[in-house]
């Protein structure tokens, strides 16, 4: 009886090992199952998801107009002070003072890409961009000014 148990134990063990080896062998002889993506080579075909949060961007249209009113809702929503909105007062045609965006400062190096600022924006002026290649040699270049020079707020955005 002891011998029988001893041998069946060995047989079972061998079988379990062989099952595992068959699985790895299965993948070894099928190069098509390889899942490696060769990143810098596949940049042209690499498409990130639409909602992928890579960085905060402020879209400008063809006339260099954006939709930011300078309300600082994003600045308040940000958990770690990544955004600084600097506002100025502009004169409207009716000669009234109106708050407007001067500079939209964005510290990418502090950003956790949580998306709360985009969620908070009432006018849809900022969005999440798909770019994820942010490595730079100089950290100070990560502090960005999002509104383009000379850009203005789009008509009708309140």
């Amino acid at each position: 009886m002891f011998i029988k148990e001893y041998i069946s134990e060995i047989a079972k063990a061998t079988k379990s090992l062989w099952t595992g080896m068959r699985l790895t062998g299965h993948y070894f002889v099928r190069p098509k199952t390889v899942i490696t993506q060769q990143y810098p080579d596949n940049r042209d075909t690499l498409k990130m998801a639409d909602r992928f949060r890579g960085e905060v961007i402020m879209p400008h249209d063809a006339d260099n107009l954006h939709a930011c009113t300078g309300c600082t809702a994003c600045e308040l929503a940000c958990p770690n002070a990544t955004i600084k909105v600097i506002t100025k007062f502009e004169l409207t045609p009716e000669n009234k003072k109106k708050k407007a965006l001067d500079t939209f400062v964005y510290h990418l190096d502090m950003c956790t890409l949580c998306g709360l600022c985009v969620d908070a924006c009432p006018t849809g002026a900022i969005q999440m961009g798909q770019n994820f290649e942010h490595s730079v040699y100089d950290r100070s270049t990560l502090t960005k000014k999002l509104n383009k020079p000379g850009s203005k707020i789009r008509e009708g955005v309140e």
Partner: protein, 373 residues
């Protein structure tokens, strides 16, 4: 801490080894001081704090919307579930009614996160025991989940998808289709996992009877999740104190009585299958409607304290908010599952070999930022 003279003057042939903070098996910056006699472990003493960021203090200066994204950084492998717990606590305090659709989405996301977390654990645990290949197989399937997450939530690991009152955006149009595809894929692959690791005789010998934790100890140490359930303690928060729509789905709480590493392993493997079951029940029945409740611009919780318990991939996460009526919490305490589970490590590893310590640590599924917070 041990000084050099203490080690040298140790008369009873004991060897003190620092495992970590940088060590292949500690998966992060856990520091264990183990006392050995030969290969046998006499004592394990964890030293924490290498990745302590004081999230609790940080949250005291964040609003109720903002602090959720900080909680992703605790147990980053079940970030969704952490966010869920925080959102639930805020909703409980501010008495926000969450739309049905949001609840369905949340639970599906939770379960996907749980599978993703267990996949990573499975690979890492096999790696702790010296098998490298499972890690890649696990990541192959995990990648599918992260891509689904990326498509809907916009991020792969720290999604910050839950907001008080629902979810941040509606699900992606392809979401249901891709989740169903994943379920089909996963069902065939999980059998491969069994072939490769579970049934392997070496693996079974390495884990069976190793790192034993009795039921009494599991309760006394406050263990939760798979660690406690492997010792026969029924503690699945989803079953005991259902939140969102967990009371509407049928699933089993996997229980084992052996209390060893293999039992913990089997629990997690079973949980993956149960999670698939839950997703299958929900994925076709997501009701139409709002994905987010209308909430005030500035959320304020009434004076008082609020406690929420949810079941993360590692065990019970408790979020305890003490509010003074302001827009920021007065005090937040995260009761993390890993912290309590780790405290039982000494009990489990004592008397075993060094290899057993790795097997035990692997099945505890420690995520160090979760322990240190």
């Amino acid at each position: 801490m041990y000084t050099e003279t203490q080690i040298i003057n140790n008369s009873n042939d004991e060897l003190v080894i620092n495992v970590g903070p940088q060590h292949p098996a500690t998966h992060g910056v856990l520091h264990l001081v183990i006392t050995l006699q030969g290969e046998t472990i006499k004592k394990v003493e964890p030293h924490l704090g290498y990745i302590h960021r004081s999230i609790e203090k940080m949250c005291e200066s964040l609003t109720y919307r903002q602090f959720i994204c900080a909680s992703s950084r605790m147990d980053y492998l079940s970030a969704h579930i952490n966010n869920h717990a925080c959102a639930l606590t805020v909703e409980k305090g501010a008495q926000i009614e969450v739309p049905q659709r949001a609840q369905y989405i949340r639970v599906i996301m939770d379960e996907l996160t749980r599978i993703a977390s267990h996949e990573l654990w499975w690979g890492a645990m096999a790696m702790d025991l010296g098998a490298f290949t499972p890690f890649f197989y696990a990541f192959r399937e995990r990648e599918v989940i992260t891509e689904i997450m990326e498509e809907t939530c916009g991020a792969r690991l720290t999604m910050n998808y839950m907001v008080p009152g629902g979810v941040m955006t509606d699900i992606h149009p392809d979401f249901q289709k891709r989740v169903k595809e994943f379920i089909q894929l996963f069902k065939s692959k999980i059998d491969e996992y069994d072939d490769l690791v579970t049934n392997n005789i070496i693996f079974q010998n390495r884990t069976k009877g190793v790192g034993h934790l009795s039921k009494e100890d599991a309760i006394s140490y406050g263990c939760t999740g798979a660690v406690a359930r492997a010792s026969g303690v029924s503690c699945d928060i989803r079953k005991l104190y259902p939140y969102d729509i967990y009371d509407k789905v049928t699933f089993n709480e996997i229980l084992e009585t052996a209390g060893d590493s293999f039992a913990r392993y089997m629990i997690r493997m079973g949980e993956m299958r149960e999670s698939i079951k839950i997703i299958e029940q929900l994925i076709d029945n997501i009701p139409e409607g709002d994905y987010q409740a209308k909430t005030k611009a500035v959320l304020k919780l009434p004076k008082g304290d609020f406690y929420t318990r949810v079941e993360t991939a590692r065990g019970e996460l408790g979020v305890y908010i003490v509010s003074e009526g302001a827009a920021t919490p007065y005090r937040i305490k995260f009761r993390s599952p890993g912290f309590s589970n780790l405290s039982a490590l000494d009990q489990m590893a004592r008397g075993g070999k060094i290899g057993d310590l790795m097997a035990t640590m692997g099945t505890l599924d420690l995520v160090i930022p979760d322990i240190d917070r």
